[in-house]
């Protein structure tokens, strides 16, 4: 308990010292270009708020979801013989639900993006 308190105080001290010292010792500029983003000396053009295609985001999401679920299958694969038929059936159920989810995403058109997709041909 005592060490925890000491640790806590040390953390608070360290953080406040770092922030406080840099506040006291640091320089302050008020030049015209102070607030602008630095791009290797070149004056920046345009806004940083670009429109990104939602397709990238979807792909990233699907990758994370299915990748994570592959982790469970690896764990099962290692203990495949020990778990026997019961483990096999359980893994089948797991994969079945995954396939159902994939089917759902596919038929919703979440997997095709770009102009030449199936959804585009169907819906002129």
């Amino acid at each position: 308990m005592g060490t925890l308190v000491v640790y806590f105080i040390a953390v608070v001290f360290l953080v406040s010292a770092m922030l406080g010292l840099s506040y006291v010792l640091g320089q302050r500029h008020e030049d015209p270009a102070t607030g602008e983003p630095y791009e290797s000396g070149i004056v920046s053009t345009g806004s940083a708020r670009l429109r990104l295609s939602a397709g990238f985001y979807l792909v990233a999401m699907f990758f994370v979801i299915f990748d994570l679920e592959a982790v469970y299958l690896f764990a099962w694969a290692i203990a495949f013989r020990e778990l026997g038929w019961r483990g096999y059936v359980e893994a089948l159920i797991f994969i079945g639900v995954l396939v159902a989810a994939l089917l759902y995403l596919w038929l919703q058109g979440a997997l095709d993006w770009g102009t030449s997709s199936r959804a585009a041909r169907r819906r002129p």
Partner: protein, 555 residues
């Protein structure tokens, strides 16, 4: 896993399988009525399988789940409520949504999560159930994604639920570090058997657990999200939030915290008492200030959870019965109240919402064919939602247009207020009896006093409904487009059944009491909220430490 264990799991398996089937059906063939009927069939089947449970010696299914009488009672309550919400949601979604099918998918997932929550006997399943419930709820709350309120509510719920989950996990870690077990019943046992002062780490762990649970139940220091989320969420989802998500959590809390003699853990007992008093006071006082019916119900639900905590703290043999009865009456009345709002909000109105078209048609996007923008094409003829019927002003004179709906709403509000011949009255008597029986005088007095305050705002709404609109001012019907209440069979069915149950249990509560007792006998715990004897406890002497009600977060 033996067949007997699988048979015990059938209700959960049923809900889970229905989710997958509904998802596949939605993928291949989008049809609103078909999806809704499948959901209803699945829920009904899951409800029926509650009786399949064989007479196995142990209700424990793996170390994660326990499906004893207690769990099955609340599971039945949850599944039945989800059934009601589905029926209510059908007409609402039919009138307001262009793609309503996924709603049922999420509703089923949330039901499954809360089912796992009430049946959990291990930190892992507890957290798993809670997250399944919460993640489905984020999407449900923000389901009408063109409305700013809904998105705001969904986002608020997402952030706060994530924070509370972090607290919960940290608390679990601390408790595990101290006690070396994650099984809830063993934690309760070792807590009860522990002599001397508990360690700081254990208290810290339980404190964090309390914060996480408090968020979920919207108890007072953690209640800020409730009014905003209730207001923003679609009315059927708000009904689900108010009933299932809170009820499941409270059932779990009661099952595992009540056997712990909280008196040995003075700080915890004090914390719970303060939270209970603060919830009752804040909920009822702030509800007085509300002009929005959904916010009013949100504050009233905060107060109701405070009432429930009184029985929880009483923790004697009475507590299980009192909480179960009160939760049933609260479920009925809340579902009914939000149900009336749902039915009144299901009207179709022409014209496009400016915000909706702005969100759905982002300028400069050439990718016309993106499948996820399909709603855009539809939105041209999509009837925009005119907002829900939620300000008290809109309810003025409701009786003269929709006497039945006004009557039903009145019954629900009276039950929430705890007036006789409704189930809410019997429930409140049980709560008070539990509180007084354990000599929790301060808590019992606050309960009685704040209930009186509560009566005022419920009556205010009721009076508004029965006021005849002055000549020249238009009545409910014409102020907003007529909700075609005559064609909403689902809503009529649910509301009719709820009123019958409400008055039925209010006049003749014996059957419900009998069911609760049967559930008690079926519960296999050594010591629990049901049938547990505990030493007489001294009156709570919290003194004058009542916190001032938090300054209103009302808008």
């Amino acid at each position: 896993m033996s067949l007997a264990e699988l048979a015990r799991l059938l209700p959960l398996i049923g809900v889970g399988a229905t989710t997958v089937v509904v998802m596949l059906v939605v993928a291949f063939y989008r049809h609103h009525l078909l999806t809704a009927s499948l959901t209803l069939i699945g829920l009904a089947a899951a409800f029926l399988t509650l009786w399949v449970a064989p007479a196995a010696p142990s209700a424990q299914v793996t170390s994660l789940l326990v499906l004893d009488g207690y769990a099955r009672f609340y599971l039945g309550l949850i599944v039945a409520t989800a059934f009601g919400v589905t029926l209510l949601a059908y007409d609402y979604l039919e009138a307001r949504e262009s793609r309503p099918e996924e709603f049922y998918l999420l509703l089923l997932l949330a039901t499954l999560g809360s089912g796992v929550l009430v049946a959990s006997s291990h930190f892992a399943s507890f957290f798993l159930g809670l997250e399944t419930l919460s993640i489905a709820l984020y999407a449900l709350i923000a389901y009408p994604r063109v409305e700013r309120n809904c998105i705001e509510a969904g986002l608020k719920y997402l952030v706060l639920a994530a924070v509370s989950a972090a607290f919960l996990l940290y608390g679990m870690a601390l408790i595990y570090a101290q006690l070396g077990t994650m099984e809830l019943s063993r934690i309760a046992q070792s807590m009860s058997g522990m002599g001397g002062a508990p360690s700081v780490m254990l208290l810290g762990g339980f404190g964090m657990l309390l914060v996480g649970i408090g968020y979920k139940l919207a108890l007072v220091p953690f209640h800020m999200w409730a009014p905003d989320v209730y207001q923003g969420a679609p009315a059927p989802v708000a009904a689900f939030l108010a009933t299932v998500s809170k009820g499941a959590m409270f059932a779990l809390l009661l099952r595992y915290f009540a056997p712990i003699d909280l008196h040995a853990y003075r700080p915890l007992f004090l914390a719970f008492s303060l939270i209970a008093i603060a919830s009752m006071l804040t909920g009822n006082l702030l509800a007085l200030l509300q002009e929005n019916v959904k916010r009013l119900l949100a504050y009233s639900s905060i107060a109701h959870l405070g009432y429930l905590l009184v029985a929880f703290l009483a923790g004697r043999a009475m507590a299980g019965m009192a909480v179960a009865f009160y939760l049933v009456s609260y479920f009925i009345a809340s579902l009914g109240a939000f149900g009336v709002i749902t039915v009144l909000s299901s009207g179709q109105v022409g014209g496009r919402a400016a915000l909706g078209s702005w969100l759905l048609a982002p300028g400069g996007d050439k990718d016309e064919s993106h499948p996820y923008q399909e709603p855009r094409a539809k939105s041209q003829e999509l009837p925009s939602s005119p907002g829900e019927a939620e300000s008290i002003e809109e309810y003025r004179g409701l009786f003269w247009q929709h006497p039945w709906l006004a009557g039903i709403f009145t019954a629900m509000l009276l039950s929430l207020a705890g007036l006789p011949i409704t189930a809410g009255f019997v429930g409140k008597v049980y709560l008070l009896a539990a509180g007084v029986g354990s000599s929790l005088w301060l808590l019992a007095i606050v309960l009685a006093l704040t209930s009186t305050i509560g009566l005022f705002y419920y009556l205010r709404l009721i009076v508004a409904m029965y006021t005849r609109p002055p000549v020249g001012e238009r009545a409910f019907e014409s102020r907003r487009q007529s909700p075609d209440t005559r064609r909403q069979w689902g809503g009529a069915l649910v509301l009719g059944a709820l009123v019958l149950l409400l008055v039925g249990f209010g006049v003749y509560p014996a059957p419900l009491i009998h069911w609760i007792q049967v559930a008690e006998q079926g519960s296999s715990r050594l010591a629990g909220p049901f049938g547990e004897r505990r030493a007489h406890r001294s009156p709570l002497s919290v003194g004058d430490e009542r916190p001032a009600p938090a300054v209103s977060s009302s808008r």
